[in-house]
Symmetry: C2
Subunit: 327 residues, 2 copies
């Protein structure tokens, strides 16, 4: 029998989960839930039912795992603890500072309902986190480096779009090649924020806007741009739509460390190059949905992160198959 | 209270485990066990007791986890199932084809004794295996590539040393740069054995030996060299000792795959660059010793691989600390 997956929230990420479920033979997408008018939502999968998010409670018998595809700022802090009362759930909550609080809320609700709630999975937090954990455990005498990009930062693009006179924008976070190479070579450099990443902004200005003023506002924007070397390039809407419509991302997690008396150095690198951030994140969520289902089938409940999931739970293969073919 | 670690077998790997335990504040090395005359073994750690392997049963109260540092060919197939009757154990059994059989033997013994036996950890099998597992679960529609090196292959070096007229030898496995780059670029190449790795041999010949005959025997040796482009360089013992005394290794695991209709490609890479193969492997074994202890403290028993260990068990930090600082 297939694992029956529901999706709550049908934006880029929800669609990414839908596409990921299609790639997994042991899963079946049974419904999309939306806060919009269901008739306004057309999933990629022909004939897939779309229900109102208000009707979730009517579908507890049809859905094994609900994948929550809302935003971390306002949706997930309430949605995940609510939904785990009804379903095993998975989310990609990524506000790092609030993870302890989110974990506590989901854990309490999940233990009461006897369900599993897996939070904060995707690639960072998620696969990058687990790469950091493994490498730190192996090389306790060492140092971490995380580089992001080259990739689109939705948050930074939004920040630019809020500037007066800006019609549209796309921001790329770009790791500094020299810094990457120094880390990769095991040189253990001390790197400032500015030395690790640059920011490239492609901006469509409204007609008659003051370009110099827009550029100044971008490069001086606190938190977002002021600590970085930022380049601003004004382009037309046509160019933006033609050359910057993808949502690529990725990056690298390094740990460099020593063993013994320090003579022997070691470099661990985990890197991702992703053509589509939401489709990759959706693929991680789908694998975690399998884990949520299987852990709950074994009688486990409560909130889990990627740290708490034995990797075998993510796989459709049996322990025997994994040991024979993948170990 | 510290986790009390014992080591069985004090060669390169045993010493690597000893050095790794020193880097972990929550562990304490309490004894080395050896099949040699204990008085002939001098650990790095001053004052560390060395006992005969025959006396293992007398130390079940002093040792929480015994790390087995013998060879996979003849030592571990008998040592691990025997030792797990007395202790939680960890080994680095790496004969891939025999893992299912080794797992079964250790699992039966461990379930009877109520102990945990973690097998086949190190970097391959071990960290490379878990990298393959995660990436395959995330990108089911994709392809794996594993490259080894640049690094010393002990098995290939030994094979050369068995040739008549050879005094000493060191063999490096070297990934082909063009193949690595094609995979890294997401080109999904079909690669033969010869296209993935080359083999570099540094050989010390005995006086008066027939160099041409030695070279021919090396490059044509079935299984070891015949499927590779192999270079043989004759050097003096002094040069070998001076330039090739390290035991570096490493490599890369890739998965390249697509999501959705195949338009979006993704590349996942996990790479290691290790100055000392045994010290890094020893460091993985030490982290897994922590997991063995903690899983057993929770009442778990049986044989486990890296696939069965929730990553948090490998860390000395609490769940709260990990979520706050590493997620």
């Amino acid at each position: 029998m297939s694992i029956r997956i529901g999706i709550l929230g049908y934006g880029n990420l929800g669609k990414g989960v839908e596409l990921a479920v299609q790639k997994n033979d042991d899963m079946e997408l049974v419904a999309v839930f939306t806060r919009r008018d269901p008739s306004s939502v057309t999933p990629v999968t022909e004939g897939l039912p779309v229900y109102s998010a208000q009707d979730l409670a009517q579908h507890t018998e049809d859905v094994d795992v609900l994948v929550l595809c809302g935003g971390s700022a306002t949706d997930l802090p309430t949605q995940t603890p609510e939904a785990v009362k009804l379903f095993n759930v998975v989310d990609s909550f990524d506000t790092h500072a609030n993870i302890p609080q989110h974990f506590a809320a989901v854990d309490t609700a999940a233990k009461e309902s006897g369900k599993i709630g897996i939070i904060s999975v995707g690639w960072d937090p998620g696969m990058f986190s687990v790469a950091r954990l493994y490498s730190t455990c192996i090389l306790p005498d060492g140092q971490d480096y995380t580089f992001w990009g080259r990739g689109v930062s939705q948050g930074h693009s939004d920040a630019i779009r809020r500037i007066e006179g800006v019609a549209d924008a796309r921001q790329y976070t770009v790791p500094v090649e020299a810094a990457l190479n120094a880390v990769r070579a095991g040189e253990n450099p001390a790197l400032t924020t500015r030395q690790k990443h640059t920011r490239e902004c492609y901006v469509v200005a409204q007609e008659g806007a003051d370009l110099a003023a827009i550029e100044k506002q971008i490069v001086e924007m606190p938190n977002y741009f002021d600590e970085y070397d930022t380049t601003v390039t004004f382009i037309s809407q046509e160019e933006l739509d033609r050359d910057h419509k993808g949502i690529p991302h990725g990056g690298s997690v390094f740990r460099t460390g020593v063993t013994g008396d320090g003579t022997n150095k070691h470099v661990i690198e985990y890197s991702l190059k992703l053509d589509s951030n939401p489709e990759f994140t959706g693929s991680v969520l789908a694998a975690c949905a399998r884990a949520a289902y299987r852990m709950n089938q074994e009688g486990q409940s409560g909130c889990k992160t990627i740290f708490d999931i034995a990797p075998a739970y993510l796989s459709a293969q049996s322990g025997e198959e994994l040991r024979a073919h993948m170990l």
